[in-house]
Amino acid sequence: MNIATVFEIALAAVVLGLAIWTIAVPDTYSATVGFIAYGLLVALIWVRLDAVDVALTEAAIGGGLGGVLLLGAAARLRDTEAMTTEGPSLIVRLSAAILSASIAAALAVTILLLPDPAPTLAPAVVANAGATGMTNPVTNVLMAFRGMDTMLEKVVLLLAIVGVWSLASDQAWGGRPGPRHQADPNGVLAFLARLLPPAGIVVGIYILWTGADHPGGAFQGGAVLASMWLLVIMAGLVDTPPVRSRWLRLILVAGPGLFLAVGLGGLCFGSAFLAYPVAFAKPLILSIEVAMLLTIATTLGLLLAGAPERSAER
């Protein structure tokens, strides 16, 4: 057993310990904190698996923004814990545990018995990389080879926004999402909200830009930008925009809209829907990614902010 394996076992043990803590601890708030820690550490596993693109996504969206979302809900729902009814009976819990364990065991066996040599599409990705002018294979898969999935997934994000907004009361429709945050304008929070975002914005754009050739991309950059935006909102320096705003809606559909338009351009003038002409592939993909960065950052921020609660006038 070499030292790398020891490290891997230690990492897996810490991660699993956190997972067990997250499921088993009685207090919901503690479970949320446990999940944030879990999500951030899973990013290390992804680095270890040599999937840095995913590590960036997992750290930014899985642990970071997702964790903050859960944390906010846990803080709001804290008072309900006392009045919740008692959990399911011991028999139910025991049978659930046994059945879940058998599914996990079946999965473990299947994963360990996967064929060797493993089938892979990596050579095919390399062979076709020239068509887009980008060298980050994951970006190529996301934007070119499986562009349809990426576009539909942007529509999923938009539908999540529609779904969250549709929960507003009729009076608050069109208004600003989430509560109005107030903070001491000279306090430490406002100070941090002025200090951190410039750096964060640079990082976000850097992550997008480097995504053409190295790990990174619109999702990860968008998540960083979203967190900076939310930081400024939480410090009370700016307010969430009213959902009625036409500009806001334009930004929210910019990513999928441009994607769709470029795709249709390929259908009308090029070889196929979502096919990029080789000469313009890189600039086209980059411009779609820039639009997606804006869309993703805004969408993620608004998903965290929640349903419209206050009319826009106030």
Binding site: I3, F7, A37, A59, M228
Partner: protein, 96 residues
Amino acid sequence: MTEFLTAAVGLILAMLGLGLVSILRGPTDADRMMAAQLIGTAGIAVLLLLGTVTGVPAAVDVALILALLATFASIAFVKKGLSRLETDGADPGEDR
């Protein structure tokens, strides 16, 4: 050199695990939230070492994101905690 660095990573992880045990048990929420900070700093250290050991320079980018997002999570926690104090006290309208 590689072995040494990997051992250092293992040591940090072990310390992290121990730290998590004591922090997550901690009596108040503030203790628990220190976990995110701990993961932030320890995770960055691990990532930087790991990037060197395995020759994955992009691990530095992950460390960068981890730094930003762990800070953000802590701020979100402080904000929620503060607002809870306020709602318990005088101003129930804010940050419900």
